[in-house]
Symmetry: C2
Subunit: 346 residues, 2 copies
DNA sequence: GTTAGCACTCTAAGTGATTGAGTGCTAAAT
DNA sequence: ATTTAGCACTCAATCACTTAGAGTGCTAAC
């Protein structure tokens, strides 16, 4: 168990390191006004903290640096509730004051503000197809054997795909199919579209359509890829300003990871509710060994819709980041729920 | 004027430097089998070439490095027509053998192959709205005051926008407008959609719609932003492997530029036809001072649709890059023209 | 339990000295 | 009139060495 003084020293050390990115020595700590005891005492305490694994030396006669265990302890026990500056609050709220119509634009802007306020990289997982429901489906022919299929969700999200039409399937068949789909599939969540379609429509289709089998495989192909939600970024290169990323290979690794949506998608899936912090090795991607990620969720009517996250070095300003992130997640939840209400009760 | 031997030496020097990225000395050149004269002779020639500005020294006793003027001369006069390896040709042609339906996918894949073959960063400007024409327009209501507008082009490109509907405009009004639009605006190029709409539809709308003014401003807002064509990337971080980009600040500058579509858009607009090479300072973006860009256009029925480009260090493999780029541009042109034909004569 | 003091460690920065790749120039060879 | 061998010279890069400074751990005194 840590003594009061050890807690205090650990906190000072981490705060200092977060600011300077330089190993912190006993003298540096002892020079602070609010420290009454001498550097020798601090040295003793530091030795204990090191033995317990909360801090490390970079070499045998260097100052101390927080270990991942140390950061974890710091985040879990030493953070006081964050206070946002007026500037930050204004900045975020002015975003939502604009009341943009398009969900995607709201999200893109949120990512921008987040990265600007924090100088880290912000990542937002768009609303999951999970909760959004089909409003309408349209098929528009392009040539004799191709057509565009357009799905519109109640959130305003539009999804489109081009497909080839087998020669054996006629236009009137397709029209029939679309009509049936609009009848049967309206308000079905996008995520379960495929399974619902297979169940609900099989019998009806068999009755009305000649080349049932061909139409069926066509439809199956169409919904083969349940589109993963989109990943939005803000300040993709902000993290390059951090001194821990002067190594170009690390940078390459990280930026490449950004390009792989599926990977990022998994990184952002939070395991618990609320604001979560993953420190260094805790997220097992090699590219993110020196990074921490703070994630928060946003909701619509209590249902989780997506996540917003900040990516920084392990030495990141946890308190501030968590504050800003939490605040923005809240506003996002409120705004989106409002929008959703207006759609639902219409 | 350059003598035969000077040409030869310049060529050897640039070839060598492109491979090694190290300054080339007289001894290195003299050791080649096909060089009969001594290093001293070469030193004299190098001094002349330097005086003429084709090569430079990095310091007073270093080997020589091509200057931008040197590269320019090399590209304009010293390149033999490129020969593609079987591997490269196969790689590109297998791409088009798949005959993907969606233009965007073809382009995305092209970017991927380009960057893989060259290890540079590839950039592709999507088909201009320029030539694609409106096939159909749809408005789908989302709530009592919002709706999604969907434009489908004959290329299969889908464009969508969410908009607010003023309370004074009724649904039936909107339906009328959409009908009129589909009648009057079909096959109008997307780029002139706005102007055509204003001209063609003004009188008709006035006749049929009550709140003409409100509808009009609504439509105007809708088409306010003529969407610039999309920019696609392949191997965004490839360029980071080049030794000239070990400086993190240069990297940041460049990657940030990538994020700004409008800027890239201008970079890629070629000035002349065919394959164009811009070397170093020739493209006046600060972020690209150490880069060269090779661009080529692709066409549909002789009309320029977009460009594809390779971005590398000034010390780039011009011959190979130009070869691959030209070949792919050709195949792209052929494929897209075929597709277009099938749409047109349908 | 705390602290002053001291020996010790290690990095970072600076200083020569050395090496080697390269040049330019001159005088001899072709 | 070229070409080339030879030589003096330059400069970056590297290595060994020193020094300064920040930091530690330990011990003995407070």
């Amino acid at each position: 168990m840590l003594t009061e003084r050890q807690l205090f020293i650990l906190q000072l050390l981490i705060n200092d390191y977060i600011q300077t990115a330089e190993p912190v020595g006993s003298r540096t700590i002892s020079k602070r006004e609010d420290v009454t005891f001498s550097s020798a005492t601090i040295r003793n305490e530091l030795a204990d903290l090191e033995e317990m694994g909360y801090i490390e030396k970079t070499h045998s006669s260097s100052g101390r640096v927080p270990s991942e265990k140390g950061y974890r302890f710091y985040v879990d026990n030493l953070l006081s509730p964050p206070v946002l500056s007026k500037y930050e609050v204004n900045n975020i709220q002015s975003l939502f004051a604009e009341r943009m119509v398009e969900v995607e634009k709201v999200i893109q802007q949120s990512a921008g503000i987040l990265s600007e306020l924090t100088q880290y990289t912000s990542i937002i997982l768009g609303p999951e197809v999970f909760e959004t429901k089909l409003r309408q489906i349209q098929i528009i022919p392009l040539s004799k054997d191709t057509a565009v299929v357009i799905l519109v969700a109640d959130s305003g999200h539009v999804e489109n795909r081009t497909m080839k039409i087998p020669p054996s399937v006629s236009m009137s068949d397709i029209e029939k199919v679309v009509n049936i789909m609009n009848e049967r599939l309206k308000d079905v969540p996008l995520i379960s579209l495929k399974s619902t379609m297979m169940k609900e429509m099989a019998t009806v289709l068999k009755k009305h359509i000649e080349n049932y089998n061909e139409v069926n495989t066509m439809l199956e192909n169409l919904f083969l890829y349940t589109n993963a939600e989109k990943v939005y970024y803000g300040g993709k290169t902000n993290i390059l300003t951090q001194p821990e990323f002067k190594d170009i290979d690390k940078v390459r690794l990280l930026l490449n990871t950004f390009e792989q949506d599926e990977v990022m998608y998994n990184v952002l899936r939070p395991e618990k509710n609320g604001i979560e912090v993953k420190i260094g090795q805790e997220n097992d991607l090699e590219a993110m060994q020196n990074c921490s990620i703070v994630t928060a969720d946003y909701f619509i009517e209590g249902k989780r819709m997506g996540s917003i996250a900040l990516l920084g070095p392990t030495r990141m300003e946890y308190q501030r980041s968590m504050g800003i992130l939490g605040f923005l997640a809240n506003d996002l939840t409120r705004t989106l729920t409002d929008r959703y209400q207006s759609f639902k009760h219409w």
